[in-house]
Amino acid sequence: MVSECACVTKKISIFTALMPSTKHDIIRQLEKEILPLQGYKPPTPGGQFSLGMRPVEEAFPNGVFPTGAMHEFLAANQEEAAARSGFTAAVVGKLMQDCGVCVWIGRKMEVFPPALAQYGIGPERVIFITPSSEAQVIWAMEEALKCEGLAAVIGHVRDIDLTTSRRLQLAVEQSRVTGFILHEPSRQVALVAAVARWRIKPLPSALEDGLPGVGFPRWQVELLKVRNGRPGKWVVEWSARGFHVVSQPVLTETKEQKRKVV
């Protein structure tokens, strides 16, 4: 770290010496220098990956959803867990594209493969692994994350500590695989080394007035923590065309508004 700091301060002096730029520019430049040190690779020109939901992606540094990193997802109950699986599947579907393979690890596998087809994943390209103990889940996850070329590794993890999650983070930095920790903490939520902590809650679907039935899945996507980004809340809908960020205030407010109207 000391050498890094020294290096950064040296660069500052170089910048100030070379061009009389504003403070803002210097900070911008420094941020760019620090990001790669923290595991973010700058977006590769040409093959830029996009999820198709700009407002959410803007929350991340460089405005790009970080691939080749660990993401952590929380869920409080069965319904949220299902919403989380749906959202993760949709993101992984974008990562897998046409021929990629992903590995889904968990002790109890509740995911119903045919449903994955709705999220743009060929269910036959998902490999499910059901180890019998929690330690084996972590081990299998680490092994899978080390395997270069996989589109994504998704793991249902009960309790994970910072050290273990750092190992996973190191594995992905080498292999550039994107990892998803579907965290189901039995105790207090521990700190996990991940670029982002997400929480997905189901929201009532929206239908055009008068139409019967259930609409497209709609979620409240919440970024609780983002490394070097801005946390926030969005309402996202998933349909066959992809993600769609609904530009309306969050549900709780709409309810209140409705009450006021009534």
Partner: protein
């Protein structure tokens, strides 16, 4: 290089075995007997009993008359054969091809083996010493043909090694009994005064055939090496097998790892030369106390990648118990397939199902987690949700069936549907509210019913009417009613899944 065979003759196979099990028999004359046509007949006699005049086939009563203190042990049928088979497997450490030579011998195809024991005489000496220590008295002989080795093991007195090509004139001094002939033929030869093999050699073949039958000529030719004789090995030798005998017994993990690495390298080089890969490997260790232990692994696709296979087998080395030491390592590849050409370079980066990196990952997971932990699903042509997927066995496999496109399925499916209490209006309307795990959910939006018939040719029962419902919190569920509304048992509602 010419072939070399070793014949091993257990002079007192059954009685030696009894003495090993009951050491007190060492100084007592004893016989083994079986019932034959209503009386007990001697099948084996210990050297002490033989020296007092007991011969095989003698009734027990006669033997008792000769030796009053005779110990009589019942012989179990098939015991001798089982013993011989176990001994044959033990002898695999000396040569890969070992055949049983009933009733009391073994034949080893020792071609290319003796140099590992510093030559032929020390090779035979080693066998005799080891067997002597175990309690079996054996005599051995080595020759170019099975027949000659057999003859010298039994009738060769002290001649043990017949040099290459020398069996022709050494054999001629032996009696005809050394030719493995039937008793009737032997008696006739005796009567005619043909006491040595050399007298047979000078006779015209036609005359021999006429008087003694084709068997005599066959046996003679086999012993002389003019006719090929085949062995029936106790354990067939596989094409893909490598052996590593050790001069000193090995009992450390490092030693085992080195042995494994050398064997794997040898097998993999051979496999890659012919463009094949192994799907299954068995690593066997022969301990000096006679125990054989093995570990085996399987791979998802044919592989001749030494480092990868080593990692798989390495996981299991811990289960091997070296005991007093291991003297022989064998690596077998019983299941070998054409290896698929390496294609990943074309799509560097993206890993496909047929990628070697993926199958190597799965191999590692299988070894550590055990079989049955890795699943891949393919569509099955059934609407019934529990049957709509089938497990794929291999990574390459695919079906003609397609995933149901138009039907919305829940992302989480309960393994078994759970009962819910429901209040639903008139028939075929979705429920208004339902209670699941003690919580009441008021249904705001609903889709359905989607009726899924039970496949009567597979099982019996009632159809299901599925509804997709969304409650006031926006949570989406998959409920179904079993059977028609208002049947005798009342309508029964279940929850089967959760939508995202």
């Amino acid at each position: 290089m010419g072939r070399r065979y070793v014949s091993i003759w257990f002079r007192h196979l059954m009685t030696d075995w009894c003495t090993i099990r009951r050491p007190e028999l060492k100084h007592i004359p004893f016989v083994l007997v079986v019932p034959l046509r209503g009386r007990m007949v001697v099948t084996a006699a210990c050297p002490l009993a033989t020296s007092q005049g007991i011969v095989l086939g003698m009734p027990v009563t006669d033997a008792r008359a000769l030796v009053p203190l005779l110990e009589v042990i019942n012989d179990r049928p098939g015991q001798g054969e089982r013993l011989l088979k176990a001994l044959a497997e033990w002898f695999i450490r000396y040569a890969p091809l070992v055949a049983m030579d009933a009733p009391d011998g073994l034949i080893l195809d020792a071609t290319g083996c003796p140099h590992l024991w510093n030559g032929e005489s020390s090779y035979l000496q080693e066998m005799e010493t080891r067997m002597e220590a175990a309690g079996y008295r054996i005599s051995t002989a080595m020759a170019d043909t099975i027949g000659a080795a057999w003859a010298f093991a039994r009738y060769g007195k002290d001649i043990k090694i017949i040099a290459q090509g020398a069996h022709l004139h050494t054999l001629s001094s032996l009696p005809p009994v050394a030719l493995r002939l039937e008793t009737s033929v032997l008696e006739r030869l005796q009567k005619l005064g043909l006491y040595k093999i050399e007298s047979l050699l000078s006779m015209p073949r036609a005359a021999l055939r006429r008087r003694f039958g084709q068997t005599l000529l066959d046996r003679l030719d086999q012993a002389m090496g003019r006719q090929e004789e085949f062995l029936e090995p106790v354990r067939p030798v596989l094409q893909w097998e490598e052996r590593l005998p050790c001069l000193e017994p090995i009992s450390t993990r490092t030693g085992i790892e080195i042995a494994l690495h050398r064997l794997l390298e040898a097998v993999c080089v051979k496999l890659s030369r012919v463009g094949k890969g192994l799907r299954k490997a068995i690593f066997q260790t022969y301990r000096i106390d006679g125990r054989i232990e093995n570990i085996e692994i399987g791979t998802n696709r044919p592989s001749h990648h030494t480092a990868h296979l080593f990692r798989l087998l390495e996981e299991k080395i811990g289960t091997l118990d070296p005991g007093p030491g291991i003297e022989l390592f064998i690596l077998q590849a019983p299941h070998v397939e054409d290896s698929l050409p390496e294609q990943e370079r074309l799509w560097a980066g993206v890993c496909r199902l047929d990628d070697a990196r993926l199958s190597e990952l799965l191999d590692r997971l299988t070894v550590k987690l055990g079989p049955g932990c890795i699943h891949r699903y393919l569509p099955a042509e059934h609407f019934w949700p529990e049957r709509s997927v089938q497990k794929a066995i291999t990574l390459q496999e695919s079906t003609t069936a397609e995933w149901l496109a138009g039907r919305i399925r829940p992302v989480h499916l309960l393994r078994t549907p759970e009962r819910v209490e429901v209040s639903a209006p008139i028939p075929d309307y979705p429920p208004m509210l339902f209670r699941y795990k003690g919580k009441i959910h008021r249904v705001k939006k609903a889709d359905g019913p989607e009726r899924i018939e039970r496949e009567w040719w597979l099982d019996s029962g009632q159809h299901r009417d599925y509804y997709t419902v969304e409650d006031e919190d926006g949570c989406r569920y998959w409920l179904f009613r079993s059977g028609h509304y208002g049947d005798d048992q009342g309508s029964r509602w279940f929850i089967h899944g959760f939508f995202a």
